[in-house]
């Protein structure tokens, strides 16, 4: 195991926020991905979608002003920006499945070298399966970004040749943002676009089961 911490979660989220073009419609998964919203650079206007029926998600409300009926997909209280709109679940997933949401940022258990994603089940026998909207998002949104730690808490690689966990979708991931590197999924395999300054290529490859190429 390597002791490098690499970028903070906010730093990773910031990289994603920079890569998402001005004017995009974006859905953020529950947990880490939610950090992206707070890291959008000044002057860039991004519209956030939450699959439970709101386009134009604003920042969290001030304490005491939470509304039980204004929440995001993670069931956390949010606000609505001026110009927002509410709609029902079939319309919300029409936006997703129909390819209208430009970017989606999700967490992951595993990503494979061909961009397969496993993020809904660790396949444990007694666990209750729960999928939510993840499979719809990867099936419908053209640009799937993954935000995650590069390895598991026990040091296992999360970027693998083949996912061993049940898949959320096949060949769906576009770019993986970890604490150690930014990696594009290309037709020729995984290509490292950026590497943390405390990392060298060999160490990064050692922490990654799938083989990496490096942009020169």
């Amino acid at each position: 195991m390597v002791n490098i911490k690499g970028w903070s979660n906010d730093e990773i989220a910031r990289k994603i926020a920079i890569d998402i073009p001005d004017g995009s419609y974006v859905n953020l998964g529950i947990g880490l991905p939610e950090l992206v919203a707070a890291n959008i650079p000044e002057g860039k206007e991004i519209i956030f979608h939450t699959e439970n029926g709101l386009l134009g998600v604003g920042p969290p409300p001030p304490p005491g002003q939470e509304d039980d009926e204004l929440i995001n997909a993670g069931k956390k209280p949010v606000t609505a920006i001026p110009g927002a709109c509410f709609f029902h679940h079939a319309d919300s997933f029409a936006m997703i499945r129909g390819g209208h949401i430009d970017y989606c940022v999700l967490g992951a258990f595993q990503v494979s070298e061909s961009g397969d994603l496993a993020n809904w089940s660790t396949g444990e026998l007694n666990a209750i399966p729960a999928v939510g909207g993840a499979m719809d998002l990867v099936a419908g949104v053209p640009n799937i970004f993954i935000i995650m730690q590069h390895i598991t808490k026990t040091g296992q690689p999360k970027i693998v040749r083949q996912c061993t966990y049940p898949l959320t979708g096949r060949q769906v991931v576009k770019t993986i943002y970890t604490n150690l590197a930014v990696i594009d999924v290309t037709p020729h395999g995984l290509e490292v676009r950026e590497i943390h300054s405390g990392m060298d290529r060999e160490t990064l490859q050692n922490l990654t089961e799938a083989s990496l190429s490096f942009r020169s």
Binding site: G53, D68, E69, I71, F86, H88, H89, N126, D136, A139
Partner: protein, 237 residues
């Protein structure tokens, strides 16, 4: 005169029968028709199949209905949430069935049920374990699974404003599954915080047209599930 208003929640759910298929609105707490669910607990119908995005929280509302062993099977997308304790326990004991459906497919199947579309193709689940055993079809070079419509005998829905025709307005993200479940159920039963005269809702703004609604009950100050959870309440109390 058309008047879909019934006076009590008990009256509204009185004819729900053993073995009925029931859609229950809500995404987590938002939109959960807690008074109607409690009336159904009092009423006691058993062997229900419930279609709802989640499985309830704590020991009130949908969780209490499950805890009261009235539900044989859940059809949902996300059966565990931070505060969901009842379903996981019964599921581990094999005392309740689960059909897991991705959220967008769940919504589309319900909408199809209401729209007279018996089946449709969707890209969701292709390449995953949830597509196993399903018919797959290639259209224009992409793969899709065949999914069937979901219908129900009853729907229990919460809204903000209603009139005697059953025209409905919802509140923010509490809208979620309400409109499509009203479409897909033979008998849609709606609790509303506010009851107005026909015409008071601007015809341009109606979210659920009255044609999809059978009964409306006024519940002026619906309980807050979050509040009940904080107070550790259990239904029946």
């Amino acid at each position: 005169m058309i008047n879909k208003v019934v006076v009590t929640a008990a009256e509204a759910v009185a004819d729900i029968f053993d073995g009925a298929k029931i859609m229950i609105g809500g995404f987590g707490e938002a939109g959960s028709p807690i008074e109607l669910i409690h009336a159904l607990i009092d009423q006691g119908a058993k062997n229900l199949t419930v279609i709802s995005n989640n499985t309830g929280n704590g020991h009130v509302g949908l969780a209490a209905l499950i805890e009261n062993l009235q539900v044989k099977k859940m059809i949902c997308s996300f059966p565990r949430t931070a505060q969901s304790v009842v379903f996981p326990e019964l599921y581990a004991k094999g005392m309740i069935e689960l059909e897991l459906v991705p959220q967008g497919t769940l919504a589309e199947r319900i909408r199809a049920g209401g729209a007279g579309i018996p089946a449709f193709y969707t890209p969701t689940t292709i390449g995953t374990p949830l597509a196993e055993g399903k018919e797959i079809r290639h259209i224009d070079g992409k793969s899709y699974v065949l999914e069937y419509a979901l219908k129900a005998d009853f729907a229990l829905i919460k809204c903000k404003t209603a009139d005697r025709y059953g025209n409905l307005l919802y509140n923010k993200t509490a809208r979620n599954f309400g409109p499509i479940m009203c479409m897909a159920a033979k008998t849609s039963i709606v609790q509303t915080s506010s009851l107005v005269e026909p015409g008071e809702i601007d015809p341009e703004n109606v979210v659920t047209p009255g044609i999809f609604v059978k009964r409306v009950v006024k519940i002026s100050n619906p309980l807050s599930e979050n509040q009940l959870l904080r107070e550790n309440r259990r239904y029946p109390w």
